[in-house]
């Protein structure tokens, strides 16, 4: 069974290929069947392989499709490596991906670019699968860029909106900045190890480097650069909110569940190097902490439903980075999975709402949808609960709590991280339920156009279930102590060591976390249900702060001033190539001489005689000067 691994990326690829070649000539039914079918099959195979993988206790499975290219001591194969880590990602990508495809069939039903949409979506899944299955960094880079391309195409899917195109371009370019760092990292790695095979590097690294080695740190930072770009972390986070220009399923799949977590995957994958570069790892944590805070703040102020979710995505990934930063590897992966569930759910639900209200994005124009769209309401509520980490019932609680706890109790954890995470948790629950209350409670502001069909509801329900029950595979030993996840990842990712004598305080931390989450909800309830006036007062009282947060801390403006404008200015002023002036000058000079000499050709006989005489005199003078 496991030898069918190669089928998993191949199926979506074939799907994409057929859809592209067939073009829009294909009837929608067929296109939908191909699009979803390919992913569905992939998901099925994944499940089977996963089952076999678990039952046979395989540590890793390696499969070479073909040797990609080999020059001198560099040899890169088009080859896959399956281990627990990639398995988890595989599962999420294919399974959540499948659900989102199903949902899209309904969502995109009336869109003229139906086929194109599924083509891109399939292509994306293929690239993402390659990314997580790659056994060497070059292939990983291929996937890495591939998902970037698809995200570009899908953000700009409705291309006749000028601004969508620009949003897409922004996303691609900003991530490309990160990719550049990643590429340089690759070059350095090759320079050191003379291979780009991940497993080889991970095994060789400890032998070659002492912990804290300079090169290791540098490389780690470069890889981090790549991760930061893809995962929309500080300082390259500002593309993600604009990426919401794409259709909601896209936001759900690419900009919430899978692609943006590629950075998390990369760092988790290369954990061996980060362990040798504590400084870099610390910075991973710091970046995560800061990002989760500032993104949370921005989320508080947004009115566009999807932008809130976008910022919350950034901040949740911030949690994952924080976890990676404190060496809570499995916790990070765990949170990734849960986050994929509930964030996909939230996006899809939000998408439904927006779809139902004729592309109304501003949640203050919604409201009262509780009754109108019960399914959406309940599913959205579960998702929100999971995001806000409502204790005990939601999966989000368990995943986030683990991070909080390790931020405090982990060997590499410290007070700052803990505080940041805690504050983040509070903010999260506030903006989450602000969203819930504003959208679904209160009186109805916009009339509901059309109601979602089964195709769109089923995925919501499934995801809702997952984002509740998903947490049960990993429970803290204070309650239940299930460790399926960490056991699964055990062979791949080192388990986290606890600070001496911190064990006892775990329960305390959990209580704090629970209370914080609940109080957040409470605050949101007060501000947006009980007396909304207060909310406005706060807004107007600290208007500047609100503006700053609303604009995502003005990072865009900063980059405009620092990079974009200078670049454009430079290229504009030099549009007509200053170097060309030099050659033009040469030509002008020559022609000047031409004119000057032409003037000597007067046509007057005596003038010619004069010339000859002058020449004669010159020569005679010369002869008298030179003669030895």
């Amino acid at each position: 069974m496991i030898h069918l691994l190669w089928l998993i990326p191949t199926l979506p690829f074939l799907g994409a290929l057929t859809l592209v070649l067939a073009g829009s000539s294909l009837p929608r039914r067929i296109a939908a069947i191909i699009g979803c079918g390919s992913i569905g099959l992939a998901a099925l195979i994944t499940l089977l392989i996963g089952y076999e993988f678990l039952t046979t206790h395989t540590r890793a499975y390696h499969d070479v499709a073909w040797s990609w290219f080999a020059v001198a001591d560099l040899s890169v194969g088009f080859s896959f490596h399956l281990d627990a880590l990639s398995l988890v990602f595989l599962f999420v990508i294919t399974f959540v991906g499948f659900l989102i495809h199903l949902y899209s069939v309904g969502f995109m039903h009336d869109d003229e670019g139906f086929t194109r949409f599924f083509a891109y979506l399939n292509l994306f899944v293929c690239a993402m699968l390659l990314l997580v299955l790659a056994d060497n960094l070059v292939l990983l880079y291929l996937g890495w860029e591939g998902v970037g391309l698809c995200s570009y195409l899908l953000i700009g899917f409705w291309y006749d909106e000028e601004k969508n195109g620009y949003a897409a371009r922004k996303a691609f370019i900003m991530t490309r900045v990160g990719d550049t760092a990643l590429a340089i990292g690759l070059f350095m790695l090759f320079g050191v190890f003379h291979t780009l095979d991940i497993q080889e590097i991970l095994t060789k690294a400890p032998q070659l480097w002492s912990p804290g080695s300079q090169t290791a740190t540098l490389i780690a930072f470069l890889l981090l650069g790549g991760a930061v770009g893809k995962s929309a972390q500080l300082p390259l986070q500002s593309w993600l909110p604009d990426a919401m220009a794409g259709p909601s399923p896209v936001s759900a799949l690419i900009h919430a569940a899978t692609m943006v977590t590629a950075g998390v995957y990369l760092i988790a994958r290369m954990h061996g190097i980060y362990e040798l570069a504590p400084l870099a790892q610390l910075w991973v944590g710091i970046i995560g902490a800061i990002t989760l805070l500032i993104a949370g703040c921005s989320a508080l102020t947004q009115n566009d439903l999807k932008r809130v979710l976008a910022y919350s995505t950034i901040s949740q990934i911030g949690y994952m980075f924080l976890a990676l930063g404190i060496g809570a590897w499995s916790a990070a992966v765990f949170h990734f999975m849960i986050h994929a569930f509930f964030k996909a759910l939230l996006f899809l639900a939000a998408g439904t709402v927006i779809w139902a209200l004729h592309h109304e994005h501003d949640m203050f124009n919604m409201g009262g949808l509780r009754k109108r769209m019960p399914v959406v309401y309940w599913t959205f509520l579960t998702g929100a609960g999971s995001l806000a980490a409502i204790p005990l019932v939601t999966a989000g609680f368990y995943s986030k709590d683990q991070i909080l706890w390790l931020a405090w109790g982990g060997a590499q954890g410290n007070l700052w991280f803990f505080v940041a995470a805690l504050t983040g948790a509070f903010i999260t629950s506030v903006y989450t339920f602000r969203m819930v209350f504003v959208t679904f409670f209160g009186e109805e502001k916009t009339h509901v156009g059309h109601h979602p069909g089964r195709l769109m509801n089923v995925p919501l329900i499934v995801l809702a279930v997952l984002s509740l029950a998903g947490g049960l595979i990993e429970l803290p030993h204070t309650l239940g102590h299930v460790t399926l996840m960490s056991d699964l990842l055990g062979p791949v990712l080192p388990s986290t060591v606890l600070r001496a004598g911190a064990e006892s305080s775990e329960i305390v931390i959990q209580l704090i976390a629970a209370t914080v989450a609940l109080s957040g909800v409470l605050l949101a309830y007060i501000l947006y249900i009980v007396k909304p006036a207060v909310a406005d007062d706060i807004k107007s009282s600290c208007y500047e702060v609100h503006r700053l947060w609303y604009a995502g801390w003005r990072f865009d403006d900063l980059y405009n001033v620092l990079i974009v404008r200078p670049f454009v200015w430079l290229s504009q002023i030099n549009k007509h190539d200053v170097i060309d002036r030099f050659y033009a000058g040469l030509v002008a000079g020559t022609e000047y001489f031409g004119r000057t000499f032409a003037r000597t050709q007067t046509g007057v006989l005596r003038w010619y005689i004069m010339g000859i005489t002058a020449g004669a005199v010159l020569i005679l003078a010369l002869s008298l000067v030179i003669n030895p």
């Binding site: 291309y159 006749d160 371009r169 590429a183 080695s213 670049f567 454009v568 170097i579």
Partner: protein
């Protein structure tokens, strides 16, 4: 002997086509097409046949050596090795499309056009296989004149200016090369009293470092201008934007490659010492080219001009790679020569197609064409992505190898060059944005690609993808040559490289 035939076929075909055209243009086109296809088949047959002799240290795959002007020690010496094989294959392969391209575009003086077209190809093919320096200069010039006519007669509005510029730039640099060749000839002659232009004899001619430096500069002049490297690039945008589609196609696809080929085949092996001295400057020039070209490309509004500047940027990688003196980098360069030829050539084809439809090359007047020309849009997407070096397409392999190989030589420059890829993204996406995305507010009819255009573009797209996924065949073919010239460099003392990697300061 077969090499001679290939060139003869082209020249004869050209003459024949020129004559036939007076009666029937269609037959003229057909004759041109067949002669190119014939050559393609020949080279393909060789390539298929010659598995064994591609191994390192093998002799030439095919060779022909006839006395030409014995009193000067000039012989008509052609020889084929892996690199030349690839280049020839490229030349003939693109040649086919060049003919197809002009099928509708050129209605005026068809015969003379095809005569020039085939003679350009012949000249280029000659440069790729010659082993006699005099012959090199000979072919070098032979490919210029017809190109001049292609631009000057069938070009766009400002064609005369562009044609002059192209011709005079290349001529001036070529003459400097001639001086260098003669210098080498006499240096070698005075020492061994064997006066010959034979490449293999002139290799490692002992001479004073100073002289060697000057002679190498002579060669570089020709190659760098052809490449083109930044201070000498200004002929390219004009030539490209004014030339007819087929002209730009050949310019970008093949003529620039003669510069790169010259560097690898002649400049470096003939003057190993000075080349190593020059290396840091070479890499610097390359990097400057990459960045400068990218920045320039971003601001252009004339589509062909824009693409022209992208080639300036891409050729920067060639410089960077060649002077890194590592096998990986050189392989990257070879790959770059091929993939750039295809991707940029295809972009020019698209520009031509758009021009045929809209009669403008100004991208500001375009936009939102995706709806109306989905096929064209998809194909363009492929090549645009290729030009920004998306993995899975040929250009990625080229740029990745080049940079990977250049890293040990000079980390700093490599890093800058890599950053240049971001700029590449900027201008590439700008093409998509301005032409295919955005609101479609145009009235004129805009048919999607015709069958003929599909016949041209689809094969190119397929090839670029194939090169991206299965590049090994090409790499193997070039290996022998690359390893030789790589060894060639490494045998000579390399103070520079040490110095450079200090700059990187990352070796433990």
């Amino acid at each position: 002997m077969i090499l001679l035939w290939m060139i003869v076929i082209l020249m004869a075909g050209g003459v024949l086509a020129g004559i036939v055209a007076t009666w029937s243009t269609v037959w003229c086109r057909i004759i041109a097409l067949t002669s190119v296809i014939l050559d393609t088949l020949l080279i393909g047959w060789i390539w298929a046949g010659q598995e064994v002799s591609l191994q390192p240290g093998a002799t030439w795959i095919a060779e022909v050596n006839l006395p030409w002007i014995p009193s000067f020690g000039i012989s008509f010496h052609l020889a084929l090795d892996g690199l030349s094989l690839l280049m020839l294959a490229l030349t003939f392969f693109l040649g086919i499309f060049a003919v197809l391209l002009s099928w509708n575009e050129i209605q005026y003086r068809t015969g003379f056009f095809h005569f020039n077209l085939l003679w350009v190809l012949a000249g280029i093919a000659g440069v790729f296989v010659t082993l006699d320096l005099f012959l090199l200069y000979f072919f070098w010039e032979v490919m210029l004149i017809p190109m001049y006519f292609l631009i000057g007669i069938w070009g766009h509005a400002n064609r005369q200016y562009a044609a002059y510029k192209f011709f005079i730039f290349t001529q001036a640099s070529g003459l400097l090369m001639l001086l260098a060749i003669l210098g080498l000839y006499f240096v070698h002659g005075n020492q061994t009293s064997v006066y010959t232009f034979e490449y293999s004899d002139l290799l490692n001619t002992p001479m004073s470092a100073d002289l060697a430096r000057w002679l190498m500069l002579g060669f570089l002049a020709a190659f760098l201008v052809k490449l083109p490297v930044v201070p000498f690039h200004t002929w390219l945008p004009d030539a490209h934007s004014e030339a007819p589609t087929a002209g730009s196609f050949i310019l970008a696809g093949l003529m620039l490659k003669t510069g790169a080929y010259g560097l690898i085949r002649f400049a470096l092996p003939l003057f190993p010492g000075p080349a190593v001295e020059f290396a840091p400057w070479g890499m610097l020039l390359g990097t400057v080219g990459i960045v400068y070209g990218a920045v320039q490309a971003f601001s252009q509004t004339d589509l062909k001009r824009l693409v022209a500047y992208t080639s300036v940027s891409h050729m920067g990688f060639v410089m960077l790679g060649v002077f890194a003196f590592t096998e990986i980098a050189l392989q990257g360069v070879v790959m770059q020569m091929i993939t750039h030829a295809i991707s940029t050539g295809a972009l020019f084809v698209l520009a031509g197609a758009l021009y045929e439809r809209m009669h403008t090359r100004d991208i500001l007047q375009m936009g939102g064409f995706w709806k109306r020309t989905p096929f064209m849009a998809t194909v363009s997407l492929v090549f645009v992505m290729a030009s920004l070096g998306l993995p899975g397409l040929g250009n990625f392999i080229a740029e990745f190898l080049t940079l990977l190989g250049a890293w040990p030589a000079s980390p700093v420059l490599t890093a800058i060059a890599t950053a240049g890829l971001v700029a590449a993204t900027a201008y590439s996406l700008r093409i998509m944005q301005k032409i295919f995305l955005g609101k479609d507010s145009h009235t004129h009819v805009l048919p999607d690609l015709s069958l003929r255009e599909k016949l041209i573009l689809v094969p190119l797209a397929v090839v670029i993808i194939m090169l991206g996924l299965f590049p090994q065949r090409v790499i193997d073919t070039a290996r022998a040559t690359v390893e030789i010239s790589d060894k060639q460099q490494n045998t000579t003392p390399v103070p520079v490289r040490g110095m450079l990697s200090e700059k990187g300061g990352n070796h433990e």
